[in-house]
Subunit: 497 residues, 2 copies
């Protein structure tokens, strides 16, 4: 016997894991994206906007650490043809679909950028949302690593243009080198590519956790396995010690210069053909980037970068912000990764049957915006509107005429449209809106052909600190002729204090 | 016995009813939205970006002509708490949710604008998509019709700023007047508001079809009903002739001036209190708008505007583009409606239990963009990048250095990253990209310290029309010192012909 639920009012709630962005947040993000788009544009990249919805089939199953079909995405079934549709979980899968669908019309190579929300059906947590922005740039149809180098250079330019020069590093590596190391470590057999796939997955994930688990933890995962603090056991890759040494030496192969790092890597991959190819690609990228002036202070070869995603086939890269912030416990830590990408030569092949080379990067927009804010390099504060108060409801047309004049002069302005009875509420409203100036005209002023112009910025400052003398010497409110409205407000905005 | 399906390659297809936007389409829309946002900003409106996903409960059931729950939206059920989530079908429902959820934090009145995609789970058709852009501006918390007048004035300013002056008209009406007419026609009983609801729905939809069906068709729907060309019968409202006359007189009540129109309306609503209130509101809006210089050539009272949506409670408005285009059969027709809105004082009440007055407009972004394009007022064409061709793969670093120099001078530039073997393909690529200039440097040129700079715009023009003499007198390709790259390209871009 279940109790009938009491009927209740509709809940006014954002769904769990989703959020709203208000005025300044929207403006700041748009400005940042416009600055990034300008760099992408300068490099010859064209915008592309695909729909939020894709067929589940086209999206494929490329989310990291997700084995179940459709897990990780928001999906539903069409009523008529029973197709499954889903919200895109990144901007790369839709690009692969577009590159295949329009392959006869698009220029080749096709350089495109895309900015927009993506959706992940994951458990929401603090600061972890199920809709977030990405900002990607990819080149499809270029097999040369010059395309990868270009993406890294462009990423570096983005950070420079955002005012983060000296505060970032782009780290590059190559999956082929990693495969060479796997071969040397005995978990990759070029004549039987599918063999040891599970072991390689474990090795990849272990390396990706180096930051968090340290060398010892990674060594355990490379070997028999690892028990974490909670007592849970993670199965290891089962590598013998000598093989684990090779993998660990790989992650620690970074030296002062790209050439030195490459020399170490060449030793580690031994006789592996694919490994040698990867080292050669890294060398070529380093050479191209050095020639363009992107030294190791900006773009550096770092073998500890592997990127979690399974679909990368060659160069991989990651951008990290190196300045320190305080974590939730007040300890200093590096801001960390804000962008990552790499080469994925097989994604388009799913559709076309032919290998279509592709490489690209994805910037985590919300994290980068948080970084800009932390560094004080976010957007300038948007000024509130001039508020024309309503002293006399019957004179609304005249108040509207005032804001009309102000707007035609390019000044943001509005009439107070709430209940005008309580004048204090009107000034509170102006305060909440961040208004720089308020206009007041009651019937006496109207009869005399004048208006009161109240400098709210100066007023706030005086209220904070000024002495009575200063207050008298520079009043925050002036009475001027109605005809001088625009002139007076403009002067106040130009020089509020 | 069903046949087993043959396995097939993943289809590279946009889902039915969805589309992709490429380079110039994305740019043109973003530019138009930025221009609209500038007007909204000047009027004191703040941006708001809600998530694409809402609970079905919060969205409510306000799609026109949809009676089944969840019909018309893309919805799915959460795995854990079994909540139903859905993609927003407009930007008004999320605003109502936000206005309720943050009512203690937002300024009141709250002026906000929103731009973004919305989704409708409808049968796709030609030019009818299931994801499309809207661009809304609403004022929540202002009961005065000055707020409605402001939205109409702002809409007018938007069209003026987009270069559509003289090509549009904003038509306004008031639901209360319509209710007064319904009362006079005997299908609204103020003491029993729910009575005749079905009849009123039929009347509303009939008036909304005036353009399409003409007076005779509407009269049939107001009376016994109407059989269309296909033989399908639509049930009518069952109004006696005299009552239908009142409704039809209402739709035809537009006169040359707002004052005259209001006088006619006052006669039609007879003794209805709500009707008289509506006429007074229309008069007040006309007075405010006239005082601000928005004459009937820009904003006009037109009783034939009713707007389909059931939730409007007072003023309703619609913007129409009046210039002619050719329809699919080559016949001239007016471009038609691109924006509409009105006052909806009950939407927020669903959440709060209290009436929160609200009014706002929604611009159909894709239609407005099509109109701008038709009028030749769309965005300027985006110029393609300067293409540095690859004559010698080993010299890639030098080609990269060239584009680096060009970009630092603010010039859009890229290296050709496809297979460089076939030089003709490189020039075809530059052509497809709309490149203004191509740079060529083979080993001979490199040894001599020079480059070839090819003016592709002039080249195309010469190929079209020039005589041999002109060709010789002004070659489209010049050889200059490597050091003069930027200077030469810049001069060519500034004055291509």
């Amino acid at each position: 016997m279940s109790k009938a639920k009491a009927p209740r009012r509709t809940r006014a709630e954002t769904p769990k894991g989703f959020r709203d962005y208000f005025g300044p947040e929207v403006t700041a993000r748009n400005e940042m994206l416009a600055r990034i788009a300008a760099v992408y544009h300068r490099y010859g990249f064209d915008p592309l906007e695909t729909s939020a919805v894709e067929t589940v089939e086209a999206l494929g199953k490329f989310l990291p650490d997700v084995d179940r079909p459709n897990a990780g995405v928001f999906a539903w079934q069409e009523e008529d043809d029973k197709d499954w549709l889903a919200l895109r979980y990144d901007l790369t899968a839709p690009l692969a679909r577009v590159a295949a669908q329009y392959r006869n019309d698009l220029p080749s190579p096709y350089r495109r950028y895309a900015m927009g929300p993506v959706w992940r059906n994951e458990k929401p947590g603090p600061g972890r949302f199920r809709q977030f922005y990405q900002c990607d740039a990819d080149t499809v149809g270029a097999s040369t690593v010059a395309a990868d180098a270009e993406i890294c250079a462009m990423l570096s330019d983005v950070f420079e243009d955002l005012g983060l020069g000296g505060d970032y590093v782009v780290r590059i590596n190559n999956r082929k080198v990693l495969n060479g190391v796997m071969e040397a470590a005995g978990v990759l057999d070029p004549s039987e590519p599918e063999r040891f796939a599970e072991e390689r997955g474990i090795v990849l994930r272990a390396i990706d956790k180096l930051d968090r688990l340290g060398e010892e933890g990674v060594r355990a995962l490379l070997g028999a396995g690892r028990k974490d603090e909670s007592g849970d056991f993670t199965k290891g890759a089962g590598l013998p010690d000598a093989a684990a040494d090779i993998v660990l030496a790989f992650t620690a192969a970074r030296r002062d210069s790209g050439a030195e790092t490459c020399a170490v890597l060449r030793g580690l991959v031994g006789a592996s053909v694919i490994g040698a190819e990867g080292v050669a690609e890294l060398e070529e990228m380093a050479r191209l980037l050095e020639a363009q002036g992107y030294g190791p202070d900006r773009i550096v070869i770092d073998p500890s970068v592997v990127r979690g995603l399974g679909y990368y086939t060659g160069p991989v890269y990651e951008a990290e912000l190196t300045f320190e912030i305080l974590d939730e416990k007040g300890r200093k830590k590096q801001f960390g990764s804000v962008a990552g990408g790499g080469r994925y030569d097989d994604l388009v092949k799913r559709f076309t049957g032919q290998v279509v080379p592709a490489t690209g990067v994805s910037i985590g927009v919300d994290r980068l915006l948080a970084a800009l804010t932390a560094k004080g390099r976010g957007a300038e504060t948007v000024q509130g509107p001039v508020v024309v108060t309503v002293m006399d409801k019957a004179r609304m047309a005249e108040y509207q005429a005032m804001v009309g004049e102000l707007r035609r002069a390019g000044i943001r302005a509005e009439v107070y449209l709430g209940n005008p009875k309580n004048f204090g509420n009107q000034l509170k409203y102006a305060d909440k809106r961040g208004s720089p100036v308020a206009i007041i005209q009651g019937s006496d002023e109207a009869a005399a052909g004048v208006i009161q112009v109240k400098n709210l910025i100066l007023g706030a400052k005086i209220a904070e600190s000024a002495s009575l003398e200063e207050w008298k010497a520079r009043p925050a409110q002036v009475e001027v002729a109605r005809a001088d409205l625009v002139k007076t407000v403009q002067a106040m905005l130009d020089d509020p204090l």
